[in-house]
Amino acid sequence: MSDVVKAVGVSALPEPRSRKRAPRGLLVAAGLCALLVLMPLAFTVYRAVTFGWDDAIELIFRPLVGELLINTLSITVSATLVSAVVGTAAAWFIERTRLPGRRLWAALTVAPLAMPAFITSYAWVSLSLDLQDFAGALLVISTAYFPLVYLPVAAALRGMDPALEESARSLGCGRVGVFVRVVLPQLRPALLGGMLLVALGVLSEFGAFTLLRFRTFTTQIYAEYRTSFDSSGASVFACILIAMCLFCLALEMRVRGGARYERVDRGVRRAALRYELGVWRWAVVGAFVVLAIVTLGVPIGMIGFWLTQSGAAAITPAEVSPELLLESTLSSIGYGCAAAVVTTLACVPLAFLLVRFPSRIATTFERIVFLAQGLPSLVVALAIVSLAVHALRPLYQSAELLVVAYAILFLPLALVTVRAAFTQAQPRLEETARSLGLSWRETVQRVLLPLAGPGLGAGATMVFISVVTELNSTLLLSPSGTRTLATQVWIDTSTLAFAAAAPYAALLVGISLAASIALFTLLGRSAVAGRAAVLKEGLQAGSPPDK
């Protein structure tokens, strides 16, 4: 993660001499990219505004909305707190103690990121239907989202200068004192950033809540959409949800405050301090085993169990057809690849503009793109549906529109990686290549692509993983008759046909894990951790810089 952040940090300080004027074509292309992302948000707000004030008040001030509000707030707050505690504890034990098998626990703690929450909830619900409602939702959501706290906090712990803690010790602080007065204050930005990601994730979670029969704003938006298809009511709820997301963003910014946490010095650091656990060692290992069983063991175990059961063993008997399995696998992979290519290519002009021609307008485009990160994907999908129905009728329920929706959703993810990739390819190197007699084309081929290539590949892979595990927009926007692994799991699980869902779920998790592992082995720890870094970076790009 640190590598990605570092690379991004470099780009935030453009060299003064590179203040050249951007080619007009590049500006237009980057502007179109920003415009594309802005469209769904603008449309949602427009719809809500034109809904009519009286109707909106009638719609909002209902007991149902009160219940939804309580449900949404309670699950968001409690899941965020649980994730914060579990994520920080896991990070501290893995990074700061001589825990046996640290690398294994580190990998197992990140792994749940490859498993979407609706798969986890399928596993738990199929284990016991009692796990529905708040308790079940808290369990499922926390296990799915706590790595978003673990990753930034672990990176912060890793990057902390041990000399700070040693200085505190020599000044008379005990172990607890050091943690409270030195370590915790410095974890604050990472911890708050992680908690923000969890909160935004929970606010936009839809699949898991539906399967767990837990009603929140997202499930209600979907219900409104199902009943009246092109509903302004859904837009009003969507606006409430957007407001809650913005509130979280503002809260994080306010709590984080203006304090500065960047390292004071620039020298080489030693590795972080590690504490001996002594007799507590095995108790901590035991806790990690329990954590791994809850977050990975149960979901994978339940999928495995249902794979061995005949369709009739589930509450709703249904058989799996091999043709449908093949078809949905191919369409999942197909959409994943198409969206990966389109999204990565779409953000190339903007990324190039940001790195090579930094200007106020480029930063504005960037912030617009990152705004999408704060929007629940269900809201974005809904807006695109309405937009297509109203203005782009021929595109409605077309494969092209679905790919565009994926591109809008995952542009921020790709943008950070692609921008970091271009930052590594410094203009100096290209100038050197040109001076050595290479043509423009050869320079791109022999210097720019080899340097930026891995970053572009990483960006595309991240988009691929996100698309394969995406449910909301796929449900709303996929052409009729198209089945993907995600929609198949959802359809079978919502009818309680657990055995029928198992092969789809297994394939989905398998593809997602394989792509994550490929990313990891290709680019190391920074790549997988990069997903969280990207999200965090994206959110902070919208806030004023620390300095």
Partner: protein
């Protein structure tokens, strides 16, 4: 009375010995420079003294209290050592003033006890107290780190290569401020460094650590003029080493290509290597006469401004010798000159 007393301290990492029985004592109110090349174990020694690492054997007493010994390992926070880490390591989330009072009890922290006084002590204006550490230059950060270490009035201050990350101009200024502050408080201090000029100019005493052993603890002059080994001689400064033999009639003299020279310390062997500091070798005004002057030809001159390095080939010894002369009057290449040696030289038994 000595403030710090270390006896036969040993430490190894993964079976690799780093410190072999170090003995050291530092008198109250003095500054000891702990000098050693990188990898000599000086940082390990400092970390053991501070309590960040556990010693394998040996004892450490600070202000008469045993903090390391058989079955004793007093934790860092109870040792009352002021530690100034490399590059300062100021807490990035606290202001300069909050950094300085970090080690004090809560009430004194609230009252920002002695912040202005300590800032003045290290030569910084009181207005710096409210600044974030990021707004300070590297040298200023080091000064604040020293003020922070001095705030709880420790009995001993440890400085770990405090000036190594600063550029030349800043280094001199910061050194001055740090030594003045240490002298003003009468603190006992140990300064770890790999820079011989720093050790010689700052230390009241210099202890040289060589491959985990303290090979010499002496005044700065003695360490430079009479180093205990050839390797140490070359480490502490530039050295001209030529073969020679002890004068059979006078054991206090050595015969070599530079003539018959007095030696600082008698040696048992007769065949020796003679160590002469380059600045001891002088160009004699007139080379035509003067029987005791050694004849040489100038082969190369590297001019630095304030001085110049002159490569010579002596006509008798047939080997290259490098000397240093003042920059305003250096000889020309090809010129024949005569040399003489001033002061004592050091003889080492030839191996």
């Amino acid at each position: 009375m000595s403030e710090l007393r270390v006896t036969s301290l040993t430490k190894s990492f993964d079976g690799q010995p780093v410190l072999h029985g170090v003995d050291l004592s530092v008198e109250r109110g003095t500054l000891l420079a702990l000098l050693g090349p990188s990898g000599s174990g000086k940082t390990t020694l400092l970390r053991v003294l501070c309590g960040f690492e556990r010693a394998d054997a040996g004892t450490v007493e600070i202000d008469g209290v045993r903090v390391v010994g058989p079955g004793i390992h007093v934790p860092s926070e109870a040792r009352r050592i002021g530690y100034v880490p490399q590059e300062g390591a100021l807490f990035p989330h606290l202001s300069v003033a909050d950094n300085i009072v970090f080690g004090l009890p809560r009430q004194q922290r609230r009252a920002r006890y002695r912040v202005d006084e300590l800032l003045a002590l290290v030569g910084l204006p009181a207005a710096y107290g409210d600044r974030p550490p990021q707004a300070l230059s590297g040298g200023q950060q080091q000064r604040v780190a020293l003020a922070r270490a001095l705030a709880p009035s420790p009995s001993l201050v440890m400085l770990d290569e405090p000036f190594s990350s600063l550029d030349a101009a800043l280094r001199i200024e910061t050194r001055e401020a740090v030594t003045n502050a240490l002298a003003a408080t009468g603190a006992t201090a140990v300064l770890v460094t790999h820079d011989q000029a720093e050790a010689l100019s700052l230390g009241n005493e210099v202890a040289v650590l060589w491959r985990g052993r303290l090979v010499q603890t002496d005044s700065p002059e003695a360490v430079y003029r009479r180093p205990v080994s050839r390797e140490l001689a070359s480490f502490v400064g530039d050295a001209v080493i030529v073969p020679g033999s002890i004068d059979s009639r006078n054991a206090k003299q050595v015969i070599c290509e530079f003539g018959i020279l007095p030696i600082a310390r008698a040696v048992a062997a007769s065949d020796v290597d003679v160590m002469i500091r380059p600045e001891q070798i002088r160009i004699v005004a007139d080379h035509r006469l003067n029987g005791d002057g050694v004849q040489a030809v100038v082969e190369k001159v590297v001019f630095y401004g304030h001085d110049a390095s002159v490569m010579l080939r002596s006509l008798t010894g047939a080997r290259g010798v490098q000397i240093r002369v003042a920059g305003h009057s250096h000889p020309r290449v090809g010129e024949r000159i005569a040399l003489s040696v001033e002061g004592d030289v050091v003889a080492y038994p030839r191996e």
